[in-house]
Point group: C3
């Protein structure tokens, strides 16, 4: 991003909701808090283009100038997540349609068909107009296309989407014979004789063809990406600044962000706590690690998070004193070079008026505002680490396409839950103090000591080869159950399960043995499993533990297979808590990974040029976490090795390389 | 109502379901039971107008004459809750449409669009025809328009409703700028450029604009009221008798009965127990008090209740011996001058055939029929109190518009529940023996010692001024949490919460602190709260109790503020049972309200001319409730001050004013 | 079925999903396992008729010839459960439509409107073509029309269905007056003035007319049966082999199989365990007994069951070793002369790829395949009992029309559950060792000692007369609550409940007394009831036990009435476990029924010509069940009277008549 080399602080700013006198106050307060970047224009389409083809930029001109005068940079958004009322009235067929056939009405946001030609034309036009007008404005340092692609709707079953899907399929398969073979349409008599016969996979009487649904999910993610690219390219014709869009990594399951990451100039992410979860700080870390992984390790922008409660969860729990600070700095610890919020000023009208903000409803005298100002100072103090990176020696496999496939109908057990398993493995690694990258299974795995794959149902052939090669070259793989079962089109390879992993795991599964609701099984090492077991036949692997009871009694539950210079582990049931920690520990130890288990103090390192910035975040109610010495960026004071981190507090200790 | 000055007894009568010989039996049995008023014609449209514009009144002529000959008066209904099959076939666009876009089919009842011009024309025409024909019939003492407006459907998303909504909005706002400002359409880019762009707030991808939804709720209630007024006016052109419609106060949340109450000549209500609830007699009292409040204290008609089980609850629990009597007399105690039932004779076909009736399926030899006859005699014995009134010194604020607003999407906690809170406060007052009125917050509050507002999220500016003035003049207000948060259009006033109540409460709320699912907090006085807490900063109020734990630890939980000559209390969490009783007691005591806590014997007074009629209803299994002397209307015997009320029984003791 | 006089073994075979080399392997493996019958062509329409009116039988010719060469007979299916994609594209109005108005899309199976004239024409045409071509093929021994009529959709609300429904109603009622009377349309003003006004009973604002819904259920079942008959008749014009279709007795509640049973040449059934249920073997027995009852006692075909897990249950529990064998032989024990599976080879693509098969995904080396082969040998060993029958002296009343009626809206309690009650009574009889037939209440009951009717809400007048005559002639009836309440059109007969049974039961019910959620009542004999009680007045019956508490306290809970030469019992509450066993035992003893209570060893007899085949199935983990001597068909060895059945095993002991 052009301009200052510092960690950015600010948020979404929607001045159109207030009169000019409030703008004055906003800018004053933002200056007080050290805000240096705001995102504007996200929902301004109806103001900027009050009638089709008629533009009015007066409001935007004014606010950008005012911000610039206040030395606040602008992340200028295209407003295309929310077409105006006139658009829906003129082009009702552009509405998104649900799988059940209901058109979604105007009145919220994000509910247009991504394949509507009218929408694409209108969105590209307004993006181009904005770029043309503001490309040279010195305040504008970043372009923000659209808002949270994929929410609330990714798949649309409107007519334009069906036509675009047919086109996408023609390109993917070239011939109907290839499509019929890939989808297995001879099952249930679903063979297609013409491209025009292929509909979107609408609600039918019972389960639809899974390959059909999986391809529609792929198409839908791709259709949104086409929208992004069209706007991006229209902006690029006029404007030199970097262009991004705000991902919802970890929150929006329906877009394949690996593909998107290649198309943005800088990765940006929105993150919100699931505030009722007791370990929501671990979930935060996971989202941040995933975002950094999408950014291929480069610094990224935390485009939105919240100063306190949101408004759309069942119970919108407020953050306690210190929690916003810990959250913000935890993102920075894992690679964020910008700490931005939704939103600068709390709304007074509309659907999100109960969402927290930098400037709260309670105003300047409130504790919340004092915390906002203090956080601005903290972020400013992080300037030295701008551009530094985070290293990870352990990775977790993450593939949206596999998740889409696993979530389709009629899997062996409704208790199969890739999200829960990945979260469980991540938490076990977090507790071990292991910083984790997320990787696509077909990506370059060189440099990782261990790759965990807690739930990787679908593995395409290239990914299977990649994993095999990784192990052969010395890597350690650790799979959990129901992995490697299908290939590209939800198709089971010939021969016993897991067809994509038999050789690398050194075993075959004669039969899945899912457990009953609430059923538990015991392993020979005393651990307790849930959800799943397998009827395993070893083909080279050794059994590390067996099922001591349950339907798989006597059969292997944990196996290890030496493969080339590496190894592959398999875990045939769902372990929790200390039992899962034990499995993870064993795998890490087998690969000689270094780690220091955490108590309440999260510890992450950003590596700069000759200096490590050690973030220590104390999530507990006791002072803890001594053992490091250096200079705390936040207090600008020295830290001695017996100084603990105060309860609930954070420090960022700069440690010169070579220093203990 | 013209005619006899006595408490009425009877019910809905549907002779069209039976042959003439059953009519003879019905009339004989009604005479045996002392029935003196029946409602007829409620579902007779298809018989009265078998083809559009073709009328056949033969059946109605005959039954009215027969009833008249038997000295049974008639409440004659317009049949407009159920247009005939030909109407739906000819005018399919008149069907009501759900928010999801599904037209509701013919085959049940009450499912026409209230804004359909064809429906309005047809309904007014049949009403006029009936009035013209029967205005002079001596049996007809009352007109009953339609049936249970608002159930099962209030809001309809058909085209005619959309057009009527636009017209309603033009009238309310005059300009689009005013509407855009009121609705806050700049949020999420929802600005309207033409009235025609404004749709009904159909299902969208995520939360719709709350002001849009709130206005549609207002419009929908008003559209039904327009239907009523059109029929009423058509009747009035011909007929002199009073005109009413049967409310479902407390059961149908979607019509604003404060507005309706001004349009009927006499208030009538339908009430059904939620039979599985153990304290359903308290719920009954609440509904009766609300009905009396709608009637501005005047006597009212209990148009429908049930002799025993209904048919539409999950488990249709039958009333035990004595329960129908207690229920009926409890309504009379709280102001009903008519005790009518759905229905005279139990059905044998159709959707409600398992609904109880005065004449049960089991016939004349059954216990149920004997109870019907006995109740008829009881009601006849109430004649002396006809026209007497009920006094209340305590009120509870009740505003349908506030409830609609609070029930919209994305509030701070799904556990916010105005209905549950009002029921809890009402029950606490009931247990204290306090008779309660319900009041609109903008209504005249003079004469009440205390006004409780257990859940009053939306307070319009005039209501806020009214409440302030009430306290300033010496009244005592008692608010619970999440009150006074928004004004007319679900808009948050500038400044800290609660914007509509900051001054009168003498506090500000820095932040809402909703609790987690199942979480409890302790107060400094030992009480236990659920659901909610606030981060309160006192601005004049004093803290009566603080949070001893939880997110608001150390902050006020109960406050009291002297304001002018009065006071305002605030309770920041959900108390239950004895804890809530304690709070209510403290408020009552602070206002020097007189009350006598009840055990099992409910006690309510109707005040006549020089005489009090003390209803004593023993809901328990033991004799209880002595301490009063006078003359029991039901037994026509003297009651001495040491005579208890028998277990499960009722007495109505006439006590001359001045008598102890 | 023409050809070999032996119990058949095989399953559904879908060669179109694989290349020719897999066909070779399939046939080899089928021969290894003793397969002698396969069903083919079930989902082949798109292959056989790639364009409308263009046929291609090459694939089918080839596979039938290959199977014939391998001495495997063919059950040739019409593919009409799954019209091709071109059909849906050309005739979109032929799609089935839900009650809410949503057309069900192509993409699964079984989702066409049964009343579509285009569908009927197309289905009959392909059936005729197949019959013409393969009628003389020596491999074809059976015709299999369609697949699982009624799943996933029976009722369709499309236009063609509405028209056909009107036609069906004209035929049933002849006049609108008759229809209006039967449906009670004067209730809620629903009188029809023209046949065209009668729609399908779509979703309305609240409960629809129950008689309307019941007739639509009858029509919908009949419409499917018309489809079957049209295809059957088209085949019969060309082909002499028996014609069947695969029922889902006990799994598909929406088709009245009593009517279907008269139209098939041989009854065939599909059965799947509800695998998570701990007593799923008892549920299996019930389904098998129901199927035999549909076959009027004649041997029947188990057309589909599963070798292990299915794929469409929440948790698809695999069968443990020995379980497939016990399941298969239990069906044979109760009358099946064919043991067939879905499916021969496990799929690799499509919605059912995780369904088990004779040839599992794990291939020839797996335990599952070895069990398949062993089972083939077992089935072959059953040849001597081919054609033998099963006797039952006790019956349970079963009437789909009654179930449809009871399942409509607004019954006295949501806890009324005919299925649960029938299952409970069946299990009690199973535990007593009593083999049971199911009977329609209007069917010939001669020959049964006892007829239980655990939940028979609707009893038509002829059935009521039949039951009365049965008791009068010496039979014993045993009814549970909420029986005999309505007649043909969900109409309550005049007078107290139960109008259809008052005389035979010798009692009247003054009022239903359903219990609260979770409420229990105690009987005077100590038993505990749930769900229900009645306020019973005896009219000739004697009270066997009374309610000791609850709303019916002091009233009869169990009654017995001598009626003619027989007797009728009534049970007014839901008993479970040992309490229900006690009631059942008492009824059986009163009718002097012989029985031997079972432990883990199920025992059923097929009676051949001069020889009994005693199936002994040990469901337990201990050897048990000695006491019989003869010759075990499965081991071809003698069984002595002290030889137990091995844990988990089965034996089929041939015992000459007269032998102990």
């Amino acid at each position: 991003m052009p301009g200052r080399q510092t960690v950015r602080f600010g948020g979404d700013y929607n001045p159109e909701q207030w009169p000019r006198e409030v703008w004055d106050e906003d800018i004053r307060l933002m200056q007080d808090a050290g805000v240096n970047l705001v995102s504007i224009g996200i929902f301004s389409w109806a103001l900027l283009e009050p009638e089709e083809g008629v533009y009015d930029f007066a409001m935007l001109d004014e606010i950008i100038d005012r911000l610039h005068a206040a030395d606040i940079d602008v992340d200028l958004a295209t407003p295309t997540a929310s077409p105006p009322a006139w658009f829906y009235r003129r082009y009702p067929h552009s509405r998104a349609v649900t799988r059940d056939g209901m058109p979604l009405a105007f009145g919220s946001r994000g509910i247009v068909s991504p394949s509507s030609p009218e929408y694409r034309r209108a969105a590209t036009a307004i993006a181009a107009k904005l770029a043309e007008r503001y490309a040279q404005h010195p305040a504008v340092v970043l372009w923000h296309v659209h808002n949270e692609y994929g929410t609330p709707v990714t798949e649309s079953y409107d007519d334009a989407s069906v036509t675009a899907f047919q086109t996408w399929l023609r390109k993917r398969y070239a011939s109907l014979d290839a499509l019929n073979a890939a989808w297995g349409t001879n099952f249930w008599g679903q063979r297609y004789g013409a491209w025009e016969e292929i509909d979107a996979p609408r609600t039918s009487g019972t389960a639809s063809n899974p390959a059909h649904r999986l391809d529609f999910a792929r198409f839908s993610s791709a259709a949104l990406l086409e929208c992004f690219k069209a706007e991006r390219d229209a902006i690029r014709e006029h404007a030199p600044q970097p262009i991004t869009t705000n991902f919802m990594a970890g929150m929006c399951p329906s877009v394949d962000l690996w593909r998107w990451a290649d198309e943005v100039d800088i990765v940006a992410n929105d993150h919100y706590l699931s505030a009722e979860q007791p370990d929501n700080h671990i979930h935060l870390s996971r989202a941040a690690d995933l975002t950094r992984s999408l950014a291929r390790g480069k610094p990224w922008i935390l485009m939105e998070h919240s100063t306190s409660a949101v408004n759309w969860q069942p119970r919108n729990i407020a953050k306690r004193p210190g929690e916003m600070r810990r959250n913000s700095l935890a993102h920075a610890a894992r690679g964020a070079d910008a700490v931005l919020f939704f939103q600068v000023r709390a709304g007074q009208k509309g659907a999100e008026k109960f969402h927290s903000a930098l400037i709260p409803q309670a105003g300047e005298t409130s504790r919340k505002w004092r915390e906002s100002v203090a956080l601005g100072a903290d972020v400013a103090a992080l300037a030295p680490l701008f551009g530094s990176r985070v290293d990870a020696r352990v990775a977790i496999a993450w593939d949206w396409e596999s998740f889409w496939a696993q979530d389709l109908d009629w899997r062996p057990s409704v208790d199969l839950d890739h999200r829960e398993r990945i979260e469980a493995f991540y938490a076990a690694l977090w507790r071990r103090g292991v910083t984790v990258d997320f990787v696509h299974p077909a990506a370059d795995l060189t440099g990782y000591d261990v790759v965990f794959a807690p739930a990787l149902y679908l593995i395409e052939d290239d990914a299977a080869a990649n994993l095999r090669e990784y192990a052969a070259q010395g890597g350690t793989l650790a799979f959990s159950y129901f992995s490697g079962i299908v290939s590209t089109n939800d198709d089971v390879p010939t021969g016993p399960y897991p067809g994509q992993l038999r050789d690398v795991l050194g075993l075959v599964i004669e039969e899945f043995l899912p457990l009953r609701a609430g059923e538990q099984v015991t392993l020979s090492d005393g651990r307790r499993g849930r959800v799943w077991s397998d009827d395993i036949e070893l083909r080279g692997a050794t059994s590390v533990a067996e099922f001591a009871d349950g339907p798989g009694v006597g059969r292997p539950a944990v196996t290890k297979h030496s493969f080339g210079d590496g190894a592959a582990w398999y875990l045939a049931t769902a372990l929790d808590g200390a039992d899962l920690d034990g499995f993870v520990t064993r795998v890490l130890d087998s690969a000689a990974v270094d780690y220091s288990p955490l108590g309440d103090v999260e510890s992450v390192v950003r590596r700069g040029d000759g200096v490590d910035y050690v973030f220590q975040i104390n999530h507990g109610a006791q002072d803890a976490g001594a053992g490091i010495s250096g200079h705390d960026l936040l207090t600008d004071k020295s830290v001695a090795s017996d100084d603990p981190v105060r309860a609930g507090s954070v420090r960022v200790v700069a440690v010169r390389h070579g220093q203990p």
